[in-house]
Amino acid sequence: MASKRPEHQAPPDIFYNEEEARKYSQNTHIIDVQTKLSERAIELLNLPDEESCLVLDIGCGSGLSGEVLSELGHQWIGLDISSAMLDVAQEREVEGDLVLGDIGYGMPFRAGSFDGAISISALQWLCQADKSYHNPVKRLYKFFSTLYGCLARGARAVFQFYPETPHQVDMITQQAMKAGFTGGLVVDYPNSTRAKKMFLCLFAGGQVQQLPTGLTGEEGSERVPTQARFDKERNRYKNLRGKSLKKSRTWIMEKKERSRNKGRDVRPDTKYTARKRPKPF
């Protein structure tokens, strides 16, 4: 079966042509998904409250993530390899400034320029060797090391990406650590195939920072906190030994919890949950 992943179809500068780029300004589903991812990434970025910062948007595309940054009062500079996508961004009159460039050749910015960097669904493109002389590991290292340079000390970089294999995750994190970053992977809704989202959360020097925890529970529910949570607790399953009796109240509650962790729509628990029905005549 042919692969559906866009990285396998063509290099990014070719794949994101006028037609593909137009989707990013018209398709409301794509816009919705990208906006949500950007909001979460910016939340993980943990920029100082009530201050407007200068943020680098890596693989900014049509500027959907940038618009979220603008709404929060930040200035941004976007970098992308596809000129068609940048043209769309220009048409949408985004507030940030745009630069055409290949992140695998390094970031063309001065040291300590940015308060933070975000990147939505771009990093996986670096894992491909699109030209015969491309070496993904070297390109990743080049990217991370130059990015480290252009961030202010203690700044964060948050990458949302779609890794194809666990090996890709290893390759990416290894090169990031080699370049001097600390931090690691934050996974939202880890139990769900559909709602699962990976964020690589990196810190450029400065004080030791605690890695934020990923989101769990119902996707898009009201209870999802809007602030990144920082806690040391680890969730262990209670009653690991001995499963509860089938069809019992605890069994049903556990089952509902599992579904909720997968991000499915589950009715809230009430006193009626798992209550026996009256006997029919």
Binding site: E51, S52, C53, L54, G73, Q75, I77, I81, S83, L86, D87, Q90, E95, D97, L98, V99, L100, G101, D102, Y105, G106, M107, P108, F109, R110, G112, S113, F114, K131, Y133, T146, C150, A152
Partner: protein, 125 residues
Amino acid sequence: MKLITHNMLTSNILKGVTKGFPLKIKADKVDNVSVDYNRDFITRIIPRIEYDALRAAVNDLGLNESLPETMPEAVQQDDEFLKTMHKVLLEYEVEEGELICPETGRKFPISKGIPNMLLQETEVS
């Protein structure tokens, strides 16, 4: 391309270039856009601006802006200076032209307001 971006851009991704800053601007078309004045952002970003490079850029573009020769000491209180900085950094857009690497003379074209920093494989450091 705004001048704030120019102030951050370098050509040190080129092979053999160590600093690559500041890039010289040859502008064919400069636009003026209006951006909301955000005092906090300007005071936050000023320590990171290479002031001499900014003055050189203003000179390259031939803008009629009066930037003092050195940055005033009490930047926070100097509202007039902050407003000028805001205007220079955010309100001028270089639409067409090119950026020139100070060390190698390599030209990076700017078209439709977007500087093209793409390289050939042979130029990569």
